[in-house]
Symmetry: C2
Subunit: 370 residues, 2 copies
Amino acid sequence: MPDFEVTPYDVEGNVNYSELAKKFGITELDDVMRERIFRAAGDSHFLIRRGIYFAHREMGWLLDRYEKGEKFYVYTGIAPSGSMHIAHLLPFTIAKWLQDRFDAEVYIQIPDEEKFLVKKNKTLEEIHDLAIDDARNIAALGFNPKKTKFYFDIGNAGFMYKQAVRVAKHITFSTIKDAFGFTNETNIGAIFYTSMQAVGTFIKSVEDGKNVPCLIPMGVDQDVHFRIARDVVDKLGYYKPATIENIFMPGLKGQQKMSASDPDNTIYLNDDEETVERKANRALTGQQATAELQKKHGGNPDRCAVCQYYRFFFEPDDKKLERIFEAERKGTMLAGEHKKHFADTVNRFLKEHGKKKEAIKDIEKFFLST
Amino acid sequence: MPDFEVTPYDVEGNVNYSELAKKFGITELDDVMRERIFRAAGDSHFLIRRGIYFAHREMGWLLDRYEKGEKFYVYTGIAPSGSMHIAHLLPFTIAKWLQDRFDAEVYIQIPDEEKFLVKKNKTLEEIHDLAIDDARNIAALGFNPKKTKFYFDIGNAGFMYKQAVRVAKHITFSTIKDAFGFTNETNIGAIFYTSMQAVGTFIKSVEDGKNVPCLIPMGVDQDVHFRIARDVVDKLGYYKPATIENIFMPGLKGQQKMSASDPDNTIYLNDDEETVERKANRALTGQQATAELQKKHGGNPDRCAVCQYYRFFFEPDDKKLERIFEAERKGTMLAGEHKKHFADTVNRFLKEHGKKKEAIKDIEKFFLST
């Protein structure tokens, strides 16, 4: 028995990522593969350098093809359920980089039914509004509208349902029951849903009428969708998708995964300045119990949520990040200052992000038209 | 244990329709209800007079509302799997009569994915072509294009998927597993499908933005879809649909249900004259083993497939039907003549039907536009 469990709908226990990689059949990124990615990109990325993207499937195959001139597209997505938080941005941050560095088209699924089916408290109309807001938040990261297509399961069902039906024919309830932690009491919409998520793995091949390699950046909790989809798309005659998968962004209070159940545990993109300051003040640091002890013994950045937020998102520069870690480690920056600096950094980002979001006047230009 | 089983996907054992009605919770039509229907219609219909439509749900409720000025719409459908056969026409024959006599709008679902999901041998493209052909066959029965809307699950998924998702949320795998004879090895598309079929029960209420009563004429084998749907649509705030349900049309060789597995057991709408003659010649009659015995003892029209085909479809006039039955009973019409007359009748119908089908130049005018 494993002492942890990871599905798209639940994370239990303390996740050991090496064991998880073995269990899921994904390969941990090593220096050789990281270097190969960076060489092909002509650039490196902090989320990969720092092991936040920690594992992959078939990146070697994808880069072989890329180096022979066969371009890949990127597929990722987000299921709207409330305001987006910082952890949601990880796959989009990498997707944007892949678009810039590999000239990759990016397909972004915004399933506007998933949370309706697996949760209780939102109407389809509310989720639709959240979906449009999510699209604006994502577009604000700087995606090229000419090379980016957002699509919705309901909003694009005229295209999606047919493709999902092709997938669904090859997936039995047995296959998904354990994979997703479903029971006989799960509703039949949630049971069908993985077919909709699988469509992204071959959506561009359908559009182009020929096989196009697909790379999926995602949180490792989504892996099961694509373990199942890989078998199916192979039967449909498409390439199996490559994936690159990130570990969970910790909660501000130190939990292993950000969670929407405690709003103070995460930074939302619509948090105002005071909210951010409050959350920063309540955040867990890796410091000693008193300023005196901290000055004497120093703290532990690995156990400091604030340090980890710089590492995961807010400080892309490795040297600057190391200075923050060093100050924490040596006790030269006390908790109050640390948190103040963090709150300022987050608020600067959110303000800037809000401006970019505001500047997007025509979000529909990003939408898949079929 | 019942000694028969009826689901949309399988009929086993000898069906006792009274027991089936009890099992399904439907009410057998009696003279009082038949008279009430005919009075409201200002007309009677042979399929109801003859007990071929044998049971119903809430016809009383529907007619109460109708008599108070609240019009109902009719929903029925057919899942394309091959050429349509005569038994397929029963619900459409009644639907057309309901349109004419109650000024009812008719919504006809042509699920262009169901047989793809539950059978193995057809592509979605083949089913699409069959779906269009089915639409033409149905339209040829004389439906009023201004009051008739054909819709497809894939072809109208832009509308349908959202509504099906609303339904699906309220149906668990447990609920449908036994109801449809499904197992854990059933594919997740087939599992989801009943949600798409349920949409017809409230489709006009969605379109009109207010509750509109719905009447569903159908083969009794489809009843389970609506036993399940009735609970759900009630939760969604719509009226539960009324139904009127027909017994199975027997096979030409005497089986209790026409089946596509033996083509000689059914009359297809695209059968040519020789095929019809061959099928008529091979059909089961209720006659004695020899002409001599038949002249002496007479036959049994209840066991004569040819007589039953007149009863179910080809002879709407009760007096003429009685003459055919009488001739069979008294031995005044021998098998050869009986079959010849039947083949001529069928061929006349098919020729006429083919002409009407040919005359439909713009089938799209019948299609739901959303």
